[in-house]
Amino acid sequence: MSLIVVGLSHHSAPVGVRERFVFDRESAADALRALTASGAASEAVVLSTCNRTEFYLVDGARGDGREPGGETNGKSATRAVDGLPSGPGRPGGAVDPSDPAPAVQAVLRLFADRAGTSVEQASTYIYSHKGRGAVQHLFRVVTSLDSMILGEAQIQGQVRSAYQDAAALEAEPRVVGPVLSRLFQDALAVGGRVRSETTLGAGAASVPAAAVELARKIFGPLRGRRALVLGAGEMSELALECLAAEGVRSIVVANRTEARARELAGRFGGTAARFDALGTSLAEADIVVTATAAPHPVITRELFARALPRGPKRPLLVVDIAIPRDVEPAVGEVDNVFLYDIDDLRQIVDDNLERRRAEIPVAERIVAEAIDEFWSWYASRDVVPVIRELREAAEALRRSEVEKAMRRLSHLTPDDQALVDRLTKQILNKILHRPTVRLREAASRGTGEAVVHAARYLFELDTVRGATEREEGE
């Protein structure tokens, strides 16, 4: 039994390729059922987002799951495939299309079918990690260390949904069992830990988010604030999305083409304003975002003075994301006006990303701790039956010997007999304590199999249903 992840992400495939491998909820459910029903995998979860599609599997076939993942097979992956654009090359851990693991083969076929191409061609963009490498990969994914935007928060929810969807899937056998259940719960816990113990997700990582961050530093929560957006292009739309998501109370859109302003405002529950009545809208706003294509400033110092002759009573945030700028810099000199242009916002984003990068070592340390903890549990699964059998065999032997002895010591009082019984139990526990600890330690170090063999040989545990038996069976 081995843990495997097979998939593709923004590291290995451009968006034009990734979009062809996306699994929606329904197709994901079908894929998981197919994988487990065929016996290719005993457990399976699929994570499909705009940046990655990955199958997390417990291979139905025998494997110790301890081989370090992440090694590349050294093949280049820059060739084009049928109907798919040429890729940037696979990252470390590129899948070997001839990998004999049934789970890998089954997932490659699923991917190929999904994209309408051959296994050989699909595998150009696909990587795999096994054993500890698979665990490390999931933990890095959920903590956003593997994300396109370091520290992004959505991935935690996406991983949770992927796990919950798979766990709730009606299938026989169930597609999520004890291994993936524990793996994903640990992953979500480590994701939460990284978010609470580091500032990996702190600060805005995009220009619109930086504008919102600035607004929050002035107004606190934006719920109930009034916003004026100048321009009706793509940037204005992005700004409107951010403002609406923050719960801004009223949105006014002003544009040279009034129909376009009305259309855009209508989509966000706002109203359109005439461009030549800008002064009135300006006087009522808390937040002004300008993103027009005008070749000269739209909000001049003169216009501003006419609109607000005594200056704004409340703080007024003006975010000018147009190039060339829409707002005369002199407007920023007005008391209580906070004027920022695109360079200011980029500076915030750059600073935040720099700080996020500085947190990577801390996050990696947390991930490493979590991997050790999971691996200790996962590896000990092999030795637990041996420990149980060893104790049962020893206990049977002890009981038999005590019974024999008691027949010769029938003159002892019941209290003395109980004392002898207790004494033999204590001796047995003391003798077995060290081997038990050593077996668990060996398992967590990854050398459990050899020690299990030795234990079986030394204690004659030939009837144990352990790893050897499974190995032989497979």
Binding site: T199, R216, P312, K313, D335, N336, Q347, I348, R355
Partner: protein, 274 residues
């Protein structure tokens, strides 16, 4: 028992210093997020401090509201309690960076003087006096919190205006939060001080048959009340009222502290002034 009062006050002082240290370390470090243990240490400090004052009351059979050292301790506790309440505005916890050193300073001076009864013979003691003093201290604590919020408001305003997106920008709360904290602290402080002055005058007229305007305590109280009025007036209407209010809170607090120092230095010997 006296030892217990000093021990508890010393422990509270240590905890306040640790809580301030957590904030300083957070500001100085790369991470702008205040660790959870910061508010926990503050809560522990407030509890220990409260226990110290309870021990004082048990030891001396009177509330620690008479005499400079006990008064400083009570004032420090009230400011800390204000800060604890402010901490419920999650991002406003960082105001502790201004208030905790003030609390620690008040407590340290109190400890240096010795937290014990002054031995002053008062014409009247009783629940009304205690209520008067407690309300007055609440008024001063409110002004102290408004001062902290105002100071940080001005700092954050400058950072935003000059486009400095550094530690101060990330660490301190939004202008709006600071404005709300300052406004509420002023409202609570002003109400408490007005009630305290009303009670004090009622008591003075009842027992001394005068307004006792020449009494330094009364002068200080009136000056503080007028300062409150000035700060509240500065916040009322017009452009940039929040910033004007913040500036007025800072100036007002400084004026009140300076007035205390001057009045104390010039007060006639034997005159009971805190």
């Amino acid at each position: 028992m006296m030892g217990m009062v000093a021990i508890l006050h010393g422990l509270a002082l240590t905890l306040y210093v640790i809580a301030a240290g957590v904030l300083v370390r957070t500001l100085a470090g790369a991470r702008p997020r205040v660790p959870q243990r910061g508010p926990a240490v503050l809560a522990a400090a407030v509890l220990v401090h409260g226990a110290g004052l309870a021990a004082y009351a048990a030891e001396h059979g009177e509330l620690p509201l008479v005499g400079l050292a006990p008064s400083l301790s009570v004032s420090a506790l009230l400011i800390a309690a204000f800060l604890f309440a402010v901490a419920f505005f999650r991002e406003a916890r960082t105001l502790g960076l201004v208030l905790l050193p003030l609390v620690a300073l008040l407590l340290a001076v109190g400890l240096a003087l010795g937290i014990r009864p002054s031995g002053e013979a008062l014409a009247f003691r009783g629940p009304w006096l205690y209520l008067h003093v407690l309300l007055a201290f609440t008024g001063y604590a409110g002004l102290a919190v408004a001062f902290a919020a105002g100071l940080v408001y001005l700092l954050q305003f400058r950072e935003l205006k000059e486009k400095h997106f550094g530690r101060v920008f990330r660490f301190f709360p939004s202008l709006d939060t600071l404005d709300v904290v300052g406004r509420r602290a002023l409202a609570i402080g002003f109400t408490a001080l007005t009630l305290a002055l009303g009670l004090g005058w009622a008591w003075t007229i009842r027992f001394r048959h005068s307004f006792a305007i020449g009494d330094p305590e009364v002068m200080w109280g009136i000056l503080t009340w007028l300062t409150f009025m000035g700060v509240i007036a500065a916040r009322a209407g017009g452009p940039a009222r929040s910033r004007r209010g913040a500036l007025a809170s800072v100036v007002g607090f400084v004026v009140v502290v300076l007035a205390y120092v001057v009045l104390r230095l010039t007060a006639a010997k034997g005159m009971a002034f805190l």
